[in-house]
Amino acid sequence: MQLTRRRFLQLGAATSAAVVAGGALVASGEELEELGSVEGGKEHSAGNIRESVPTACLQCGVTDGVLAFTEGDGDEKRIVKLEGNPKHPNTRGSLCAKGQAGLQLVYDPYRIRYPMMRDPEKRGDPAAWKRITWDEAIDIVAEKIDAIQKDGDIGKLVYHKGRDRFGDFTGRWIDATGTKHSLNHTSICEASLKAGYETTFGQDLDTSDILNARYMMFWGDNIFEASYMHNPMAQRISEARVGSHRPKVVAIDPRLSQTAGAADEWIAPKPGTDAAIMLAMVYTIMEEGLHDTAFLDKWTNYSSADLKKHLEGMTPEWAAEISGVDAGKIKRIAIEFATNQPGFARAYNGISSHTNGTYNARCVALLNAVVGNIDKPGGFCLMKSTKFSKPEPVPSAADVQEELGLKADFPLIDRMHEDYPLAHHKTSHLSMQHLKEMDYKAELYILHQYNPIYTNPNCQEQWDVMKDTSKIGFTVDFSPFLSETVQEVVDLVIPDCTYLERLMINTMPAVENFGYVHLYQPAIEPLYESHSMYDTLLEIAKKVPGMAKYFQFDTVEDFAKAAVEGIWGEGSWDRLKADGALINPGGGKTPNVEPADPAYKSYDELTPDELDDARVFNSHMVRLSDEDITELKAGGSYPEGDGTIKDAEGETAGVVVDGVAYKGFPTESGLWETFAHELEENNFEPLPVYVPNPPLENLDDDDFVLITGKFNVHVQSRTSNVAWLMEIMHYNPLWMNRSDAKDAGIGNGDMIEMDSGAGTGKMECRVFVTEGIRPGTVFMSTSLGHWHYGPPATHGKDPFAELPNLDFTDSKAIEDNVDAEWFKEDQGGLVDIWWREADLPGDSRGETPHGRPTVGWLANWITPNGDEYTDPIGGEFAWNDAVVKINKVSSASEEVALGLGGAAIAMGVAAAAVKGINFKHESEAPDADDEAIEVGETEVVAAEKTGGDA
């Protein structure tokens, strides 16, 4: 030892300052004393001052309002808690588990800290990355865009985004490149719901009025766990149910979701047959004379008499045959719905993720229209939104193409243009498949908040195409995280920061039917060398000669401020930053109206009367002013009797009903279009119909329909690095009905093999046997089964566990050390992940003798993708049309007997999971019970509350 010690000192003495450049630490120029101690390991420390920053959530697309609480100043500032912003009109101070856990994204140890690049030929090689400077990264992207623009074939630039809530900025950027290759993720979400609604009433979604409804139906709409407007609507359903209306809640879903479990009635049809039930309900309502004749005859383009004729034969018995739901029940529900108005039928992608998705959505619209509850209090309401102004000059892709002399007829990667003419929300899930078949190469593929090789159906195919350098020349991802996509197919990753570190503006419809705007602003400055991707986009645009003129503002904030103050005037930006969200209280009774005076207020400032006044209903019945009528009569086309009014440009400007000129619905006719001419022109059924889903016809006795969905604590692919959420939900066995399981000899926790004949063909997973799913149907949640995305997602697996044991023989130093204590120590994973596949409730961490790690399963390996699984109208991928065969691989009880451990207790785990029981949640989730906080003010955490922690 003495010898070694001497050698260390010799080496130190031999180390010249010239060799060691230093730089880890530098002199600060000041010595600070009395800094106090750091409290012991807690998120909250007694006596610390907290500041709150009003911002918004981006765990899912609902974008709830957030208060981000920070502690510390300067470089010690840290986000310690997230709560709902009480001034936010949708969120009203409550935030779901996903939202509260968002701060763990910020402090993910696997965040990408510097721009990193690798040779495209080495995609997938984790040892091929090298750090580059920020300037190099920007220049590489800018030069590639410039080169593509100069070359003329602008189609070689593809921008593919997932969850983006700053479309005003991103859209401008994409348009300024001139490309039409702007892809999204809507076709693996609710594209066909949108198509069904748009072809009926001209808007893509609804904001049904929960607080005033007496009857609520949720069709394939798991609003208590996921769905569009999850938290804002779920909290209002709970509120309404204890209020004076005592509404009935009915959930229609083949699976007993949390929504179905909390509903008054659960109806479980065969997957994809909902439209038959809805049509039979409409049939019944009309047979019983409970329909709103006036609305149908005056406000729709298809009379009640014609509709009745159309529905001939669509009886409850007919629907019962198709759906497997009892005819008497269908009839009863129909009458209940019609006689307990106001009420609404709401839907989401449980019904739209079928090949008949658009038709299903149009049937939802019809079911609402037949009782005339459209845009009324308590009814099925149109969205009320506010639009930002667009700072000039505003680019359009077509103009840019012309200006720069770009080729406009480049081959199109998105098939919506040619094969899916009505899929206005694109068919992005088919794009890689299409690119594979095309004689074409995308030179530059830019990704943003999107993990396609995990998220898409037949993910192996997506992966293979994206890895192929003859199809994609160079892939750039703005990602803060180690996603599968970054790891496997990206060449340059430019570190974005998280949503809690950046500025964005966004408008969403308020669920209480008024427009509002809100913003995201940094609770802390971007960590490490990450930047807001919008700042990066701005920087790139300024360097591309063809784009720069559309980005004549210094910062993203300048752009956002101009966009907000352009509608609400000077001072509104500062007010928005202070409150987080503003609404337009005296906004009159139409959506997208001119601001009134005062132009903006925060939600909590409004008196009940003002709030009532702010809510917009019957937006189609806003009368046109005499002035407008005179102008339209002079310059446009004005009908003799009732009918559509057109302006001078031939655009629909209103509709005359009973001799009165109204604004009407935002459709071609100004009416509710039960009959869709656009569908007829494209050889689709123009009326609401049920058509069977071809993949689900002629099933064998041993076929199962595989449906998917989300649990309440995860989104599709981007929450699996959040340890708190993975603690709650980390196990997603396949749900199977008890009778099916009995027939197949499958027990709870057994390992089975699912075979779809598509994708990778087969996958193994465990089974959860339950009464909570319709026989013949099986269910698996998304979100799990990651092979990257950090330790919580991959169960803390040593990141290098798959590397072969290294041969140390070439290094004597290592040989000398292999017996050392430090070397023999069990190093384990970086993150303490206590959960095991078969943990027993009550087990202590680390003491489970039989457990083995689980990362859950991903059904996308075997989910078939292609035209036969795509709605030909709306273009949505038919997630719920997958058919599988199931074979038992091993029995959980035998595994235990053999000492293999594992699934013996899967029953307990799965049952707890299904009930949402958090049986081993030992971490410190953000406190939900701290005292109410005023926005913008500081908070002192009560000493007695946390004193014991220090």
């Binding site: 130190g12 180390t15 060799v19 600070l32 750091v38 140890p109 180690l482 400055e525 190093q827 680390g846």
Partner: protein
Amino acid sequence: MSDNVNEQNQQTVLDETRPGSHMRSRPEPLARGSLYSLLSEVYLHEPTRDFLDGLKKEPMLSALKDLKVDLAQDSKSDEVETLGFEYAHLFLGPGPHLPPFESVNVMTDGKGGHGQMFGPAAREMLHLFKSSGLALGQELKDQPDHVAAELAYMAHLCQVESECSDDELDGCRTQQAEFLADHLGTWVPSYLARVIRTAETAFYRQFSAMCIEFISSEQEALSAG
């Protein structure tokens, strides 16, 4: 978080003398400090050509070899590009890597914790830096508990010892022992053991093995007073 780099006063902790000090430096802490600085440099960033060439000069070459850091043994350990890839693979990502942070590698709540970034250890390091008139270099922005920062801080403590008065000597050594006990010694040896198992170049394996031994030797020497 903002970086506290004072651009006008970028002075490394390895400067031969501290401002205002007129004492002759003690050779032993000076040597130890240099070794900590060398190790900090190894983990701070990808090695440069100059750095590798510097290591090959005598008497460094022999001194390293005596400690089983034999860079001639593995030709890849002399390639800047190869070592750059390896550095990214081990310490930067993206992809599976070994985040070199105390907060991530040490569970602090007594129940296992979750290895999130910027835990109490990071804040404690910031306090230590500030009370010593130091700040993080730009490369380590927001990473106060990075292994390179902690090694550099130990280098700083050695530097202080090398220049302190005799009365202050015990205090200096106690401070170092405490820092090893509270920070560097708690996680760096086991962390570097994972680096050794993972690294493919002798460069990172051998430097890490040497660093582990050095910390162990330091703990022993400092506890012996």
